[in-house]
Amino acid sequence: MRSHGASVSLVSTGRNLVRTIALLVAVASAATFGQPSLALPNRPDSLKFAAIGDNGTGDRPQYDIAQQMNLVHGTFPFDLVIMLGDNMYGSQQPADFVKKFEQPYGPLLSAGVKFQASLGNHDRPENVSYKPFNMNGERYYTYARKNVRFFVLDSTHMDSKQVAWIESSLQQAREDWKICYFHHPLYSNAERHGASVDLRVQLEPIFVKHGVNAVFSGHDHVYERLKPQQGIDYFVSGSAGQLRKGNMSPTDQTAAYFDQDQSFMLVEIAGTELYFQVISRTGKTVDSGVIQRQSRRSQAGQKPDSP
């Protein structure tokens, strides 16, 4: 296994410089793009996080999205970013971790924002040991923040051991909210990949049985919000770096979508409500709404879910 510790020490001398540059870029971009307007309640005691998927290209659009995240962080101080896989594309040498992760998200990392990654099919298995991904060497793991428990899965290698683990972990969870995230979407209406039905057949009955509230995935390089499926809200957010423009083929499952530009998600959980906002590369809000935990009824135009 490659030592990421070595890579971190190699770049440590230049890190402050990188972060300073990134901060300057963020300030410059604020002047260029303007501050995204916030559609979230931004309550002081709520859990606030961002979601990015399919981001690790190291190209300009990834940096643009990172700048939007930096900008919004000034007014919406999220302290967690969930990564929906394909965190790194192409070469995954130590320098690539700087170019495709540490540099674009430098200001957020400096501000103490914690990134919690899941792996995608383009990520190397050994990336579970890359410290800033906070995976502690595990392909799948769970952690809690306030009244929310997150379950992070490795959908690229969904073996029976992992399926048994998620079932027992969900069963043991006592938090108010149960949120799962992983790379391959159980529901998606993008043309390129679409839903991973094999995973859905395995995981959906477990999610329904144990009361999962929301599921976040990537893989398809678009944004899509699904109408609740068997009582669970699904989001596909796989365009924080990559984009497949015009790839959506919405069906009656689709509640909202955006496939014209890169985007990322902001989420705020306050009591029994989950608020979400999707912001494009240019700072435009392309979707927003709220999900009620008890009835899982959204105020953003979805139909009520089946009981």
């Binding site: 192409g90 099919n121 383009h122 190397r124 298995p125 073996d159 991973s196 995973l199």
Partner: protein
């Protein structure tokens, strides 16, 4: 209801046609491709029902029923060690065994490199799939290209056996899906082998005690150890009394054959083919949306790597003082390497053993199906290189 002559005629036609079609399908090994075709169509039309069905039967098919297929393959190999067989005497196998080093190492290296280049590093653990060779397809395609009794055919079969054996060893040693508990299971397996040896020394002629006694214990031993239980009959079959002379590779046992091994084949030939059909249904269902660039890694690895690896491996053998069979030169080796690129049954087995259901398994399984391009490529290469039936020389007597 009136039983008119037309209805009776229809019943008669059905009664005679169905067995005839079944025999044709079994003799021409069509049930596995048919199962694969059913899977490909089904998963892309109604994926939810496909996965519900295949997940429900996958254990019964992959871990239990496939035991029959590998048992019959083992029987072929064991009989090949008898006088008249391609493995008799053992030293004949030396050259293909040495050559198999190149035939396995080079495709595995190319596969690992290709999936990195194609940006699908998660597929790199699938390198043992590149070692697979479908012996039956190799045999039949080689017979078509080279005509029966060409010396390259036993050479290719031996090469395939050696490559598959290395693949199974790799599967046991480098399989992230299974945790191997060798120490706790050695006793169970030793018990199974002891039962089989005792049955043989007692001159038990029925195959049932071998199957139900030694086979059951062996299955639990394999399952418990973390090795693939479909291989449970592999250590048992060699203890079954078999014919004094090998009738030939993939030559069906005659109904009059009385030896235990042939009786076993006669009884299980059709169920094994049914198992292969369902194996194709369960493991070849590849949703087209799951495929990415990494799918190309395996076919490139085997189609480029096997002919080159065979040339390198044979070169090593020649340097080591071994000799190529009569009428086998570098041109025959290139064509033979393309034929050996086809992993099909064994490739799908390795893929399903290494990857759980999901995108990587879909990509690897499609790669295995694409490796069947080895057949037309071998035909083209044979024509270009003027080997086998395209050599323009006199026919080899059948």
């Amino acid at each position: 209801m009136k039983d008119d002559p037309q209805r009776r005629g229809l019943r008669h036609r059905v009664r005679t046609t169905v067995p005839r079609l079944s025999r044709f399908a079994v003799e021409h090994l069509l049930l596995l491709p048919l199962g694969a075709l059913v899977a490909l169509v089904w998963v892309n039309i109604a994926p939810e029902s496909y996965y519900r069905f295949t997940f429900a039967i996958s254990f019964a098919v992959n871990d239990v029923a496939m035991m029959l297929f590998f048992a019959l393959m083992t029987k072929e190999v064991v009989e090949a060690t008898a006088p008249g067989g391609v493995l008799h005497p053992w030293r004949r196998a030396m050259l293909p065994v040495v050559a198999s080093i190149g035939v396995t190492a080079l495709p595995a290296l190319i596969h690992v490199r290709m999936v990195q280049v194609l940006d699908e590093p998660m597929l790199s653990i699938g390198w043992p799939v590149s070692l697979a060779t479908d012996l039956a397809i190799t045999y039949f395609i080689a017979r078509i290209i080279f005509r029966p009794h060409h010396p390259v055919i036993p050479f290719l079969l031996l090469l395939g056996i050696a490559s598959d054996a290395l693949g199974f060893v790799s599967l046991a040693l480098f399989n992230p899906m299974r945790q191997v508990h060798l120490t706790s299971s050695v006793l169970i397996l030793a018990g199974a082998i002891a039962i089989a040896a005792a049955l043989r020394s007692l001159r038990v002629r029925s195959f049932w005690p071998y199957l139900l006694g030694a086979g059951s214990v062996s299955w639990f031993g394999f399952f418990w150890s973390g090795l693939h239980p479909a291989l449970a009959l592999v250590p048992v079959i060699p203890f079954m009394p078999h014919a004094a002379r090998d009738p030939g590779f993939f030559v069906d046992a005659l109904p009059s054959a009385k030896d235990t091994s042939s009786q076993f084949e006669i009884w299980w030939r059709y169920p094994a083919q049914a198992a292969l059909f369902f194996f194709g249904v369960v493991n070849a269902g590849v949703p087209m949306g799951a495929l990415e660039a990494g799918t190309g890694g395996l076919p490139i690895a085997v189609i480029v790597g096997k002919p080159l690896g065979l040339l390198i491996g044979a070169g090593l053998a020649l340097v080591g003082g071994l000799h190529l069979p009569h009428r086998v030169g570098w041109r025959e080796l290139i064509v033979g390497g393309l034929i050996a690129a086809m992993g099909f049954s064994v490739g799908l087995f390795f893929s399903s053993a290494l990857f759980p259901p999901g995108q990587p398994r879909s990509e690897m399984s499609m790669g295995v199906l694409l490796s069947l391009l080895g057949a037309p490529l071998a035909l083209v290469a044979a024509r270009l290189l003027r080997v086998g039936r395209f050599s323009g020389g006199s026919r080899t007597p059948a």
